[in-house]
């Protein structure tokens, strides 16, 4: 059999956009990057690939497309931007005083098993706030995320805030064996109270185990924090984390963003990576998150410049799908082009700013 089918068939996971789709995506990108610029973030265009070692985010390593260069180095197509920006902030921008505010907009490549809303080629728009005072930087990043939702015209968008130290402190206090943690975390992630209780069978540290079960229902409006303070009171490190969230929520509410905020203390994904605040952005109409973010204070030290850091990103593909599902008006099509028969005439009309289609007189039907 010949290989000719490869000239027609597309490889699994790739995407291609034409015309209206492109116009809609560009419009979304312009709006989001406009918000980033408005908060004084600076755009960065990082390389498409780098040494595979740079991308060591847990869980991502197995998803990278990697290849070997002529010198035998293992390289990888970027599966995310954050690692690259951390490397650049620690290296090329080493002389820059913190805080450093950077944003990006572009493709990442991941090997993804087919699942809701995921492709191998993802277009992400996001920012990183590196080296700033923690509470202020957290609040700023969530505020920027909330402003993006407004600016994009997303209806009823919600930023659900959590904190990794809540779960971590509770499992430490409950004395959970490290080998038993993934199963427990899986059940907390599913908000499955009976499953958490079953996974905890045998743990005797009562206040901590009760609080772990309570995590499955500590999600909702800002008032969840009152119940959370009560539930984790016996475990100081968890109480401190809830206190940090309280400070953040108070600042966001005072800034008029209360409507866009939710609290989810059962948010336990990305525990190996995030070190404080974690959040996911949801809106009715799309079954999965539109974006996510959090604090990752451990990452920059890997590149030799230990700075605290917080960031978030929006999936352009997901924003586009969400706006379509919410019935948003698509970006207006440009006015029809003027048909001009001579090249000199076309150039003249172009200098006047017109949109032209050049159709040589001779070729006209």
């Amino acid at each position: 059999m010949s290989d000719a089918h490869r000239l027609v068939q597309v490889p699994r996971g790739v995407q291609c956009f034409v015309g209206d789709e492109v116009r809609q995506r560009r419009a979304i990108e312009d709006i989001a990057t406009g918000v980033f610029l408005g908060w004084d973030y600076e755009e960065i265009i990082p390389p498409l690939f780098d040494y595979a070692d740079v991308f060591s985010t847990p869980g991502l390593a197995a998803q990278t497309y990697s290849f070997v260069d002529r010198d035998g180095n293992v390289l990888a197509l970027r599966p995310d931007f954050t690692s690259l920006l951390a490397k650049i902030a620690a290296g090329r921008l080493a002389h820059r005083a913190a805080p450093i505010r950077l944003f990006y907009s572009g493709e990442v490549l991941r090997y993804e098993p087919p699942r809701a809303g995921r492709h191998d080629e993802l277009f992400q728009m996001g920012l990183e706030h590196l080296g700033g005072e923690r509470a202020g930087a957290d609040a700023e990043v969530v505020a920027v995320a909330a402003e993006c939702l407004e600016a994009l015209g997303v209806r009823d968008g919600v930023v659900a805030l959590g904190h990794v130290a809540v779960f971590n402190a509770l499992v430490d206090a409950a004395g959970i064996d490290p080998a038993a943690r993934p199963a427990l975390r899986d059940r907390v992630d599913a908000k499955d109270a009976s499953g958490v209780a079953a996974a905890l069978a045998g743990s005797t540290a009562a206040p901590a185990t009760e609080a772990l079960i309570a995590l499955t229902s500590l999600a909702g409006g800002v008032s969840v924090l009152d119940r959370a303070e009560e539930a984790v009171r016996a475990v100081p490190a968890a109480a401190a984390a809830v206190g940090e969230l309280r400070t953040l929520v108070d600042a966001l509410v005072a800034a008029g963003l209360g409507e866009r905020i939710a609290v989810d203390l059962g948010e336990v994904r990305g525990l190996d990576y995030y070190t404080g605040l974690v959040f996911r952005i949801f809106a009715p109409g799309l079954g999965f998150e539109v974006g996510s973010g959090g604090r990752y204070d451990g990452l920059l030290a890997r590149f030799g410049r230990p700075l605290p850091a917080v960031g978030f990103m929006l999936g352009l593909d997901r924003v586009a799908l969400l706006l379509e599902r919410q019935g948003a008006v698509p970006a207006a099509a440009p006015a029809a082009a003027e048909v001009v028969g001579s090249l000199s005439g076309a150039c003249q009309r172009r200098r006047a700013g017109a949109r032209v289609r050049f159709v040589p007189e001779k070729g006209r039907r």
């Binding site: 699942r115 809701a116 809303g117 009823d156 968008g157 919600v158 659900a160 599913a190 908000k191 499955d192 109270a193 009976s194 499953g195 499955t216 229902s217 999600a219 909702g220 409006g221 939710a262 989810d264 996911r280 949801f282 809106a283 009715p284 109409g285 799309l286 079954g287 999965f288 998150e289």
Partner: protein, 204 residues
């Protein structure tokens, strides 16, 4: 905007109907052949058992009712906040009553409707396994030489017994779960919480 609820047309339908009635939640009397039924502020989708988690994960339905066995097999990324108590069964490894020797022999052949669950169960225990995927009547497989054992759900054990099989290992206990889409849980939390609250009361 109405909430959309995905329900199984299969064995969990009776339990779900009963639960919604007890909870005082509007529920269509007789869906008949209709697959989408709008009823008193809720939209119901009647779909195959195994498809309920898919509809909910993609957000086509905001919530639904699915067996834990189906959720384990689907590996869906959904919230499972309520154990509804009905549809109880066990997911087990069963083999012929007269089989001898180590049930975890090398190159074990397993017939099942749960290939994902069966594969990970044996691989995690260091047993290499060849999974034979079947759509039903799994109990036939060992007797006919298609497999050494089966992984399937058991309610009373009657079907196993009648086919000369005996459960040798428990993999998981299953029951019906109320599942919720991740985005709906947060972005439509008032509607979801209201429905969940009424179901929770009815389960008690």
């Amino acid at each position: 905007m109405t909430l959309t609820v995905a329900l199984s047309k299969g064995k969990l339908l009776a339990g779900a109907t009963d639960l919604f009635r007890r909870a005082g939640v509007p529920f269509p009397d007789e869906p008949g052949r209709r697959l989408v039924v709008d009823h008193d502020g809720l939209r119901f989708l009647f779909v195959k058992d195994a498809d309920v988690p898919t509809y909910v994960e993609y957000g086509v339905a905001d919530c639904g009712i699915a067996g834990r066995d189906v959720l384990l097999e689907a590996g869906s990324d959904v919230y499972e906040p309520l154990d509804l108590g009905f549809g109880r069964c066990r997911l087990v490894v069963a083999r012929p009553r007269d089989a001898r020797g180590d049930p975890r022999s090398s190159a074990l052949r397993v017939a099942t409707r749960y290939p994902r669950v069966a594969t990970s169960y044996f691989l995690e225990r260091g047993v290499s396994v060849a999974v034979v995927r079947l759509a039903g009547s799994v109990e036939l497989a060992p007797g006919l030489g298609l497999a050494d054992c089966i992984v399937d759900v058991v309610e009373t054990g009657g079907t196993l017994e009648a086919n000369g099989l005996v459960a040798v290992e428990d993999i998981a206990v299953s029951s019906a779960r109320f599942i919720v889409n991740r985005a709906s849980y947060h972005a439509r939390r008032e509607d979801v919480a209201a429905l969940m609250g009424r179901l929770r009361e009815a389960v008690r």
